[in-house]
């Protein structure tokens, strides 16, 4: 009974002419044609104002505080020494990212294998390299040539056919790349494994039932779907790697951070602008990776989403269109009044 009587009194209220309309000027429009006024959010406006003030303060400080020495920042930003370091950072990152991902895929497949030895080796590798700090791995490798003077290819425990002089082979770049790749592979393995696990069992079965060969199943059916889960996690990993390369300074490879450190000890008054130069370049690298990530994710979202997320350009166009429509509407409104 109460259920039915409750909404009744609200109806006549809604049908009454809206308050503020000049009485008798015009008959009120019927309810179905009245203007819809969205809910106001005063809290949002206050929060916006507070945040804007804080941001303005921060920007003001950055510009006016002489401590930052922006002229020196400008001077250092594209110096040949810094750019050389940047190239080293890019080289080490690119090599370790590719080798690490390749190793990660192999380790992930080994961990999913039916062979218990492969599973155990893969598990142990991941356990070990996730346990040891990267800097320790790098320093151990750096001192590796003292442990093993020569490396040789040949029969295990038997005669070797090709011999390498380790100290000649292990340049600083090689040591840094190997160390980062070994570390990266352990993390990439778990990222790849998570991606493979995210693919429904039915997909494996359907591919098998069609008689698709095993390698083909993985390449064409499982991996493309797994990549949807792999890409965001691996990019996260990659950004960590970009910044992790700054540790190679400790195995005497002069990357971006290494050059900044070097210059900082030569020009002690420029330490802060030099650190800001490093910050700037790392931000640029991360931003480039993030933009690439957006488009790669969008590529692998095909079929998974009914409509793809719009690109920034599409969003901009839609925003401009929306503003124009709104302007037209208010314009019409004023003309009418």
């Amino acid at each position: 009974m109460s259920e039915r009587s409750l909404p009744a009194p609200t109806l006549p209220v809604a049908d009454r002419p809206p308050v503020g309309v000049g009485a008798g000027a015009t008959a009120p429009a019927p309810l179905s044609r009245q203007r819809v006024i969205p809910l106001r959010h005063p809290g949002r406006w206050i929060a916006t104002a507070v945040v804007l003030v804080l941001v303005a303060q921060l920007a003001h400080g950055l510009v006016t505080n002489p401590f930052y020495q922006w002229d020196r920042f400008q001077y250092w930003f594209a110096r040949p020494a810094i750019l050389q370091g940047l190239v080293v950072t890019l080289e080490v990152t690119a090599l370790s990212a590719v080798l690490g991902l390749a190793g990660g895929i192999l380790l992930a497949l080994a961990r999913q294998s039916k062979n218990p030895i492969l599973r155990a080796v893969s598990w142990t590798y991941i356990w070990l390299f996730r346990s040891v700090p990267l800097i320790v791995v790098l320093l151990i490798l750096y001192n590796f040539s003292a442990l093993y003077k020569t490396l040789s290819l040949g029969v295990p425990f038997g005669p070797g056919f090709v011999h390498f002089n380790e100290s000649a082979l292990a340049t600083d770049l090689v040591v840094a790349t190997v160390g980062l790749s070994l570390n990266e592979a352990a993390y990439a393995a778990e990222v790849v494994r998570a991606g493979i696990l995210s693919v429904d069992q039915g997909q494996h079965e359907a591919a098998a039932a069609l008689g698709l060969p095993k390698g083909y199943q993985f390449r064409r059916i499982v991996l493309p779907q797994a990549l949807r889960a792999i890409v965001p996690a691996y990019v996260n990993q990659l950004i960590g790697l970009i910044k992790g390369t700054s540790l190679v300074f400790y195995v005497s490879l002069l990357d971006l951070f290494g050059e900044v450190q070097n210059m900082g000890s030569t020009y002690p008054t420029d330490v802060v602008p030099l650190l800001l130069v490093a910050t700037g370049w790392y931000v640029v690298l991360t931003s480039v990776v993030s933009v690439v990530q957006f488009y790669v994710e969008r590529h692998y979202a095909r079929g998974a989403l009914r409509t793809l997320p719009s690109t920034p350009l599409q969003k901009l166009r839609a925003g401009v269109r929306g503003l124009r429509e709104r302007a037209d509407r208010t314009h019409l409104g004023t003309v009418k009044a």
Binding site: E205, A206, A208, A209, L210, G211, L212, G303, A304
Partner: protein, 262 residues
């Protein structure tokens, strides 16, 4: 071969003998025998857990039997008979055998990252060695046949459940199988979409395709099946033409199941 009782024309396409399978301590198939002749439609009925799906999945070796065998077209699936024992086949040989048996799943299992056309051309290109172009031509003809001409470029998620299942049937047909297996093809569909899938299946049956169908659609069994096999507790407890098994089940378990689903 010489000991064949039947001549070549009446030799069953599918011959299952003494098939046993358990998952851990749970015995799912307890010595199943089954014959399916070419061009026949066999419907497997039974309560859930009776082993219907496991039996169906054993026919293309998605489940490996513990004992007994499945033979399709005179070839034992998943094993090679040699010197008084069955040797497990390598992956390559099993893949070749599977390509002769098509399968349609309850959850469709279309490849969501590929378009409808790519779903249909993947296997013909990889397994039968067709060129992309002729595979695409064949795929379009198959889509026409299941009433989905013109939807080649859609992604599976953009289709209704009934349409997806019809694409899945077309995909199974694209490898030109000798035999089609259906694992509860309409159980995941809205009631109003069941009809369109059953119509395609009926059409296939009329065209002479050999089919083994796990379903709860008794109407389909009565109308289309040549024989109905009733399973319970991993055993065949009743089998024969639908008119006999459905109208006049001899076994108590079959009677109570049928009265529950009819």
């Amino acid at each position: 071969m010489s000991e064949q009782i039947h001549d070549e024309s009446t030799r069953p396409l599918v011959r299952i003998r003494g098939l046993r399978k358990s998952f851990g301590a749970n015995l799912v198939l307890d010595g199943v025998d089954l014959d399916v002749h070419e061009g026949e439609v066999t419907v497997l009925l039974g309560p859930s857990g009776s082993g219907k799906s496991t039996l169906l999945r054993s026919i293309n070796h998605l489940e490996k039997p513990d004992a007994g065998f499945v033979e399709v077209g005179g070839e034992i699936i998943g094993f090679r008979h040699q010197g008084g024992s069955l040797h497990e086949l390598g992956h390559r040989a099993i893949t070749r055998q599977r390509a002769r048996v098509g399968m349609v799943f309850q959850q469709f299992n279309l490849f969501p990252h590929l378009t409808v056309l790519e779903n249909l051309t993947e296997a013909p290109v990889a397994v039968r060695g067709l060129s992309r172009k002729s595979a695409a031509l064949q795929a379009k003809a198959l889509l026409e046949r299941v009433g989905l001409g013109g939807r080649e470029d859609a992604y599976p998620r953009q289709l209704s459940g009934g349409q997806q299942q019809r694409v899945a049937i077309a995909r199974a047909l694209a490898v030109e199988p000798q035999l089609l297996l259906f694992d509860e093809p309409t159980s995941a569909l809205d009631p109003e979409l069941v009809g369109e899938v059953l119509a395609v299946m009926k059409d296939l049956a009329l065209s002479g395709m050999t089919m083994i169908v796990v379903t709860h659609e008794i109407g389909f069994a009565r109308e289309v099946a040549d024989s109905v096999v009733f399973l319970d507790g991993g055993r065949v407890i009743e089998s024969g033409p639908p008119a006999d098994v459905l109208a006049n089940p001899g076994h108590e378990r079959a009677r109570s199941f049928l009265s529950a689903v009819l």
